[in-house]
Amino acid sequence: MKNLLNIRREWLLLTIIVVIILAVGVRAPVFLTWRNGLDIANDSAILAILVMGQMLVLLTRGIDLSAASNLALTGMVCALLGKAFPGVSIVVLIAVALAVGALLGSLNGWLITGFGLPPIVVTLGTLSAYRGAIFVASKGAWISDQDIHDAIKGLPREVWLGLPALVWFAFVVVALTAVFLKLRREGREIYALGGNPHAATYVGISVPSRLRLVYTLSGMLAGLAGLLWVGRYSIAYTELAAGYELTVVAACVIGGVSIGGGVGTVLGAVLGVIFIGVVNGALPVIQVSPFWQQAIAGAVILISVTVNARSERRAGRQILERQGVVA
């Protein structure tokens, strides 16, 4: 057990995922086919996009509970736009989705930094506010399959170089996030200010502007996810993706992103997404009722944070011992 905890948690999670895939594959070989893999990747792509945004926010010790409402509102705006202007091109729609999402996200950031409010309270408020705005915008009506613009519906069904477009979108977002966090100065500063906001201020990092950046980015990605969601399921309505923000946070936590800020990697978060995707994909294959999904996700969150806490505590003790020797 001790050795098990010593290895990096990303590898541990990856091993668990592989074991699940193989175990399910033995019982139902259909699970190991390329097609099924693509299905799971397709289902996980939107979650991956949302998780990248949420991870940025969590790294700064914040949380964005409004992500799912933002997704639904932006999705509705795009659907309405597509319905009103049948001639609109997909490039314009993507631009609109990014812009609307970024605007909603920046409102969060502005409220948080402008008035020094706790992120959880602000995004709890905008969670309800954005959700209600969908109802106001759509007058409570559903926009169903025949009214969704063909370009929106077509986008997730596109196949480029043998992979579905959704997966490409997720790849690009994940790659950009990784580059941003690893190589860009702003990305490194996000880790620094999440680890210790006071120290970050003293070394000259503009904490408020970085916070505004992450909430804007999180909103922007939620907006993109909204457009893709509406296209994939070809429907837009008020309750779209309600409660999905908790799944997004869950994927981050399973992937080892700490709610306490400053800790978490893109690889870990992506594995968290894949884990949820694999479990959700495996349940129907082994004929377990999909009602189990939520309970399993909950149990996994609890187990992974408990394991995390153990490894963190061990690291802490080591530092204490070394100090003892010096003194």
Binding site: F115, V121, S128
Partner: protein, 321 residues
């Protein structure tokens, strides 16, 4: 910690404003019948808000409280199917609630995990367990006494015609007074503030912080169970999605009530005023045919405004100095 402060005065003024505005614009709003009816909308949520307020003052949070409510309601159903009477059903609900709360508390205190992560996990777990157990089914046919507790007025039970207070509301008031007295008038209450304001200092001054945290999580489970008894009785059935999303409503009540999300500040008077304001406000909007989702939008905006105003005042005062 004073229970009566500037924010409570603002809330009282808001409450009067709500009563006046709806009293004028909605004929029938100010009648005793309507006001008594309105309390059905918020009594159970108010019970959850009391427990969450204590936890937030102590620097913790419980997002799983509505899921515990669902689990307790499920326990009622199973106890009934197993042939227990009203007393056994009640005991099953209360024990389940306290056990579920204790699980949260142990995870937070034993493993030093942040309560927001733990309760997001148990929120999924508990709600998931209810889903697994019931699927798309529901349990109904509870004994008469639960329906009475959920729907009847105090006067009907006591045989006093004019006493038009719903029993649910009596429960809420009784618990609110008890919790308020504990928080504002006892050493225990002071210690809860101390832990929330500065956990390390509280620990060093000899307060067994973890014991208090555990106790408050169990209390939160207990309140969820009481709310489950009333709500299940009122609607007459258990469904896996019972009280879905109520944790956010209860937290909104608590924060509007002036409890600081970072802990250590807030009063029960404020929380109860916020419960009344939000309850009457949504009831009034309901009379004006505003749909539920728009109500929650208005409540969300209200929550942010309620946070911004004190922040603006604070910064103004700082400038003046």
């Amino acid at each position: 910690m004073k229970a009566w402060n500037t924010w409570e005065r603002v809330l009282l003024a808001l409450l009067v404003l709500v009563l006046v505005v709806f009293g004028i614009s909605q004929p029938g709003f100010m009648s005793a019948d309507a006001l008594a009816d309105s309390t059905f909308n918020f009594s159970e949520k108010g019970l959850l808000a009391l427990a969450i307020a204590l936890l937030i003052v102590c620097g913790e949070i419980d997002l799983s409280i509505a899921a515990i409510l669902a689990l307790s309601s499920l326990a009622m159903g199973y106890a009934m199917r197993a042939g227990f009477g009203p007393l056994g059903i009640t005991a099953a609900a209360l024990l389940t609630g306290m056990l579920a709360g204790a699980v949260n508390g142990v995870l937070v205190t034993r493993y030093k995990l942040p309560s927001i992560v733990v309760t997001i996990g148990t929120l999924s777990l508990y709600r998931g367990m209810a889903l697994v157990a019931l699927g798309d089914q529901s349990i109904s046919g509870y004994p008469e006494v639960f329906s009475t507790a959920g729907n009847a007025y105090l006067g009907e039970v006591l045989g006093v015609r004019w006493l038009m207070i719903p029993i649910e509301f009596v429960f809420l008031c009784a618990f609110a007074i008890a919790v308020g007295l504990v928080l504002h008038r006892t050493v225990m209450g002071r210690r809860i503030y101390a832990i929330g304001a500065n956990p390390v200092a509280a620990r060093f001054s000899g307060i067994q912080a973890d014991r208090y945290r555990l106790m408050l999580f169990v209390f939160s489970g207990l309140m969820a169970a009481v709310a489950a008894l009333l709500l299940t009785g009122r609607i007459g059935s258990t469904r896996p999605n019972i009280a879905m999303g109520w944790e956010l409503d209860a937290i909104t009540m608590v924060i509007l009530g002036g409890v600081a999300i970072e802990g250590g500040r807030g009063s029960m008077v404020g929380v109860m005023l916020a419960v009344l304001i939000l309850g009457l406000f949504t009831f009034g909007l309901g009379m004006a045919n505003v749909s539920g989702i728009v109500m929650s939008m208005i409540v969300g905006i209200l929550l942010i405004v309620a946070m911004i105003l004190p922040a603006i005042f604070r910064s103004k005062r700082k400038l003046a100095r």
